[in-house]
Symmetry: C2
Subunit: 250 residues, 2 copies
Amino acid sequence: MSRQLGSGRTTLPQQLAQVLRQRIREGHWSQTQRLPTEAELCAEFQVSRVTVRQALRTLESQGLITSRQGVGTFISVSDAMVHTGLQELKSITETIREMGLTPSMRFSLKKIRPATPDEAAEFPGNPGGDVLELRRTISADDVVVAYVHDVMPMWVFGDDFDVDDLTGSVFAHLGKHTDVVPRRAVSEIHACRGLPAEWAPFAEEPPAPETLFLLLDQMQFDHRNRPFMHTEAHFIEGRFTFMVVRLAPV
Amino acid sequence: MSRQLGSGRTTLPQQLAQVLRQRIREGHWSQTQRLPTEAELCAEFQVSRVTVRQALRTLESQGLITSRQGVGTFISVSDAMVHTGLQELKSITETIREMGLTPSMRFSLKKIRPATPDEAAEFPGNPGGDVLELRRTISADDVVVAYVHDVMPMWVFGDDFDVDDLTGSVFAHLGKHTDVVPRRAVSEIHACRGLPAEWAPFAEEPPAPETLFLLLDQMQFDHRNRPFMHTEAHFIEGRFTFMVVRLAPV
DNA sequence: GAGTGGTCTAGACCACTAA
DNA sequence: TAGTGGTCTAGACCACTCA
């Protein structure tokens, strides 16, 4: 049997990975824990082996499958739990959704202001020199999981931007109203006790002063390699599990 | 000019990435911050474009370069600092060495004992049922940075193993004396206050009870997808900076 | 329009595993 | 020995950037 992949905006390996991920989730191969051979996947989806292998490598880097030379390709998570690893760049709300929870978000600050000297250096080539500062509280199933502070240069939004347009996921807004496509982020990870003092005026449900946090301090870059967003996200330890799939150097 | 890559145990993209990394470090292209075109790299190293692109993708995932369609490929770190990200599987000592520091290690426990029921479930197919338990303190430039607890099934080492053989890096020992090749690891990351109580008999330079740690709790798998090592590493917050390069899904 | 990176193919050969 | 995944090539066409 042969199936037709679409010819849309996404790449073939991306589409194929999506289909295979779906089948794994649905338990298509749960009896044997084994996927079809690469040749069989080529035939079914009418794509080259390189394309199949790239899709499989994506799933492997997500920890879903592993291959053994001379043997085959196997599912490496037995249950339906599909963790999204930190090595993959996704919005926080999307990550929550993939965990099967319902994300929600409350903005406690949306402010356009001049960039500080540090911010001006972080975001070179920002005509006007203004930045948008956000503070928001993110919840999963109505339980607060993170306090997030973002700074973005105003070139991202263009001239006809109204801060009230920004209501839900920042990534979703970017996709709809701008040509900024997030491509990579560089994050530092820290352990941290208590929320920084500067949060005091903004945290509407302030955590206990001794609360432990995982701090993700990250700069995000778009498809043209422009830094477009600096995020400090404080995740309450224990309410959110971070995973990383680490692979040996190619 | 054409250069010959070796034909050794490593793949061509791997070798090419190594050469390019070296050149970046040496500042070959620091004037323009721009690498040769893909076609030029193909010609110089006598490899196909697919090979060149795979090497470039490796460097990109390490945060060293970025490409822009229609323009070129550019160096994305200006100074000689080369961070190794968490998304890459390396031994702790190697990571320390790449930061330009000198790693050292002190074992406070090396013990062969029967596996607990949990451990037996973690390591299926372990004839004899014994595990090697390690507790070690890792230092960088003689400053303690991490407390590490490892459990490994004894099949890893074979029959002629003497615990006294194990003196330095565990990964290095595996490479020399066994056929286990680390391939991937799945890590959970947590923030944590104080060292767990079970460390008390072993921590020779115990940290203050309120010390903040980043805990990496990881299971490592070898090239045949066998789980061979469970590691709980407590890193003292601030003495070690963890970075992750996060990429948008292919 | 010239040149760059982005995507995809068909096919070759090798290394490994298991029967 | 047959079948699997691992590696690599040559070449095609497209999308984007910039002069």
